[in-house]
Amino acid sequence: MSAIDWDLVRSSLGPLLDGLLRGTLPLTAVSFVLGLALALVLALMRLSGRRLVSAVARAYVSIIRGTPLLLQLFIVFFGLPSLGITLDPWPSAIIALSLNVGGYASEAVRGAILAVPRGQFEAAMTVGMGRTTTLRRVVLPQAARIAVPPLSNTLISLVKDTSLVSTILVTELLRKAQEIASPTFEFFTLYGVAAVYYWVVCLVLSFGQTRLETRLSRHVAA
């Protein structure tokens, strides 16, 4: 008896792709965008001169990084109902993933902003720009380039971390594989196909990272 049932592989390709396209990828995309927005806010809070504001952001990042993502997911989905807040699986998944990404990515964004030379801020001020304009027109475009490698890490981790939401009944790639595998007991085959799908997505993202880095570096000295 062969370990891999090739007929099952062929017949599962479609349903698993469905789980990828309708579960994993949208979850990743939405959580990453929301997480990035949160990360920018947190980074600016950390960098603000106000002690309290900075301390709040620091505490947030510490808690997010100091607790398991699976636990954060359970708190949102199973825990919040005790407080009278009941959310469906999908919103729960997106909230937990976004909050988590925001915490991790904020450190990358903060580091990138700090890496923009002091002279750039000064030049922006001397041509009359205020804080917001300086940030938008001078600092963030340069910080973006610096932040691409660490943020790519976050994104690629996120793709795989979405598999955790299979535990709260969101139908994504891993859950789809479980559903098909359970009645047939072909776990090796189905999980193998799912693994290949995850890997291909991450390969494509790595390729995109390289392209993006090249594009953003075109005006920077070699």
Binding site: Q120, M125, G128, Q142
Partner: protein, 251 residues
Amino acid sequence: MTAPLLEARGLVKSFGANRVLRGVDVAVPSGSVTCLIGPSGSGKTTVLRSLNGLETPEVGTVRIGDVELDWATGPDARAVSRLRGQSGMVFQAHNLFPHLSVLDNVTAGPVFAQGRPRAEAQEEARALLARVGLADKADDYPVQLSGGQQQRVGIARALATRPQVVLFDEPTSALDPELVGEVLRVMQSLAAEGWTMVVVTHEMRFARQVADQVLFLDGGVVVEQGPPAEVLVEPREPRTRQFLQRLLEPL
């Protein structure tokens, strides 16, 4: 006699326990060129950066045109930016925006900060680039230019906001020697056009030929000031003489 366009009085500034300015006065008449010279650590760059609030003195006043700031009152960011708006600045390390084209560097102030129409700002920026001899570089990026060209873009950027005074912080100190001349020539022509300029520099020949007054600083005070023919040729103070001697004979 009319009041000077720029006037700073009693500037005092410390970095920690180190008192870098101990009561500096500067008066710059409209249309004149003032050179600040002195050994490193003398406070000349700190004086220049106090004129636009990149440094915040503890005590002293700065007035440019009709905008005045009393540092002792701990002015808020808006008051400082109002003063800053009166001047333009050219940096030692040019500090051009690397992600913007040459043209966009020059229009950044007028468009992003002053809210002027882009088309009008671009037209003016092209004229300024022609003025510094870089009309054909408008679409290049800073990284594609030589050091001297980058610094000339820096000058065009500083002029683009239509400042009353242009501040130069050692504009040629970071350049290869053969590129110094092209920058100084642009500065000389601006002076001839009547721009009011305050220049921190080690280029004594430039100070000799272009400055209307020279201030020699040492230890956070103005030791000697006057026309270049006096301060640079027949200095009264021994410290000035020593400094000039060291420049002439470094070994």
